[in-house]
């Protein structure tokens, strides 16, 4: 690999990692608030990816509206999943394993909806959604699609940080991640906080679905990429969204390099082996911190 090629792989890896970061953070928000791994997030991502696909292929909308449609679809589907699936378990104070099993079931159900509507083929976003394909700087040719997904991700993260640091409801989502009961003692309607968490998580999932669909291809199983979000949120350390985002970018970079060197067959094997090795060395994740009760 020469230097130019390495540089291009870094750009590809960062762009892929950025999309993983969006997926992982959307996934981790629900893990933090409700303490279970929400694989239905993959279904949210899948439906949004196809919503963006319809918007661009049937209605010829341009890139930004397509991303926005994906985002809104993600929020709506995530809240629907909460209403249809998780709410009842919460009302009955069900065990976490019920949430987990339900979330996997919802992922499969949402996938099947896509299979029924679109068949189990591969589709691609319209070729001219992004007009300019490459920017050439000397020998270097950089994919505009990748640059744009990188930019969209940065904007999405900017918004996310604003919501979580500067708005009352955003701070309440973080408070609920610390301690749901005490949050209710502040006069905060925790039911609303949970819905807000699903809205934010779904928006992130929707954007990531559209970006992932544009940069790869569409199939009803697209939602299974949520596993990457799961890996990143474990590696990043529970509770720290920054750690999760960093882990996701690292995962994207590693994956792109592995695919270009040892191929896409072996790459997942190496990634899972790395994940296990990492967790043995640092079980709290990249940024995992735990505050202990002080007497």
């Amino acid at each position: 690999m020469d230097l130019i090629e390495i540089f291009q792989q870094v750009i590809n890896g960062l762009s892929r990692g950025a999309i993983y970061a969006l997926i992982a953070v959307g996934f981790a928000i629900i893990v933090n608030v409700l303490k279970f791994s929400n694989f239905a997030h993959g279904g949210v991502l899948g439906i949004s990816a196809y919503a963006g696909y319809l918007a661009s292929s049937q209605f010829n909308l341009s890139f930004i509206p397509v991303v926005l449609i994906g985002m809104v679809t993600g929020a709506i589907v995530a809240v629907l999943v909460e209403f249809i699936a998780f709410r009842w378990i919460r009302m009955q104070k069900g065990q976490l394993v019920y949430f987990f099993v339900t979330s996997v079931t919802m992922l499969m159900l949402l996938e099947q909806i896509l299979v029924i509507r679109f068949g189990s083929f591969f589709d691609t976003y319209p070729y001219d959604l992004i007009k300019v394909k490459f920017i050439n700087i000397g020998e270097l040719s950089i994919s505009v699609t990748y640059l744009i997904s990188l930019a969209v991700t940065i904007v999405a993260f900017g918004l996310l940080i604003y919501v979580f640091k500067k708005t009352k409801i955003g701070i309440a989502i973080r408070a609920a991640s610390n301690d749901m009961t005490t949050t209710s003692l502040m006069g905060i309607n925790t039911g609303m906080v949970i819905i807000a968490a699903f809205v934010v998580s779904g928006m992130m999932g929707g954007i990531s679905g559209v970006l992932f669909g544009i940069s790869t291809s569409l199939s009803p199983q697209i939602g299974q990429v949520v596993v990457k979000g799961f890996i990143a949120s474990v590696l990043g350390g529970l509770g720290s969204l920054t750690g999760v985002a960093v882990a996701a970018v690292a995962l994207g970079l590693i994956e792109v390099f592995l695919v270009s060197t040892i191929g896409s067959g072996y790459s997942p094997v190496v990634i899972f082996a790395l994940m296990i090795a990492f967790l043995l060395l640092r079980p709290q994740g990249f940024a995992g911190v735990s505050f202990t009760d002080k007497a």
Partner: protein, 237 residues
């Protein structure tokens, strides 16, 4: 006036409180003492709506309290829970904002300044995560967070637990100050009976989920049964 009439409550099938009758007149300090496991926290959590009422009632000004914790806070009843329960990954500023969740932005600003006046240490550490504070500082933050709601009735669950004597004296002074200066009604639940009874207008002794003795704070301090069981001179814990 907060009135608890023939209250029974508990968790699932486990009964904790039996036939509790407590009156909390406006502007008074009412203390409930009792040992670990007597049901003190369950009592406050039932008032706050975290524990379901099995039978009996809790009335505020003759009206039943709403069924959910956040609506009870909106009625002016705030609890400072046992063990402080600050939000460890939130900054002190964010913890205080959560305490004043139902208030307007300008009220939050005004009350934050009041909290800083009471606890200057919190101002110094404004942007620090609450989890990095010492136990005593966390109790100050928990008190400050409770003050942010500016409640009519403040419920305190064992604020002295695990604190050095100097700090808990401060905490009790503050409670009296809130009562005197703001006419805030206080319901204080404590194991540390002597200090609590001395500041009480009225007090109850809770044993095994039942009220066994009640009277004015002054009466209970000299009550031989209370003396024997709770004021033996040996510091518990």
């Amino acid at each position: 006036m907060l009135e608890i009439n023939h209250l029974h409550s508990g968790y699932n099938k486990i009964k904790v409180l039996e036939d509790i009758n407590i009156q909390v007149p406006d502007g008074k300090i009412v203390v409930v003492i009792g040992r670990n496991g007597a049901g003190k926290s369950t009592l406050l959590n039932t008032i706050s709506g975290l524990v379901k009422i099995s039978s009996g009632s809790i009335m505020l000004d003759g009206e039943k309290l709403p069924p959910t914790p956040h609506r009870i806070v909106a009625r002016g009843i705030t609890q400072i829970p046992e063990g402080r329960r600050v939000f460890p990954s939130l900054t002190i500023e964010e913890n205080l904002i959560m305490g004043g969740y139902l208030a307007t932005a300008s009220e939050i600003q005004k009350r934050t300044l009041e909290v800083f006046e009471t606890f200057p240490i919190l101002k110094e550490r404004f942007h620090q995560q609450a989890g990095t504070l010492s136990g005593g500082e966390q109790q100050m933050l928990a008190m400050g967070r409770g003050m942010m709601a500016n409640p009519r009735i403040l419920l305190l669950d064992e604020p002295s637990l695990g604190l050095a004597p100097l700090i808990f004296t401060q905490v009790f002074e503050l409670v009296q100050q809130l009562n005197e200066e703001r006419n805030m009604t206080i319901v204080l639940v404590e194991q540390n009976a002597s200090i609590a009874l001395n500041m009480a207008d009225y007090a109850y002794v809770l044993e095994d989920g039942k009220i066994v003795i009640e009277g004015t704070g002054k009466d209970l301090v000299v009550d031989p049964r209370v003396k024997a069981a709770y004021l033996g001179g040996v510091v518990e814990e």
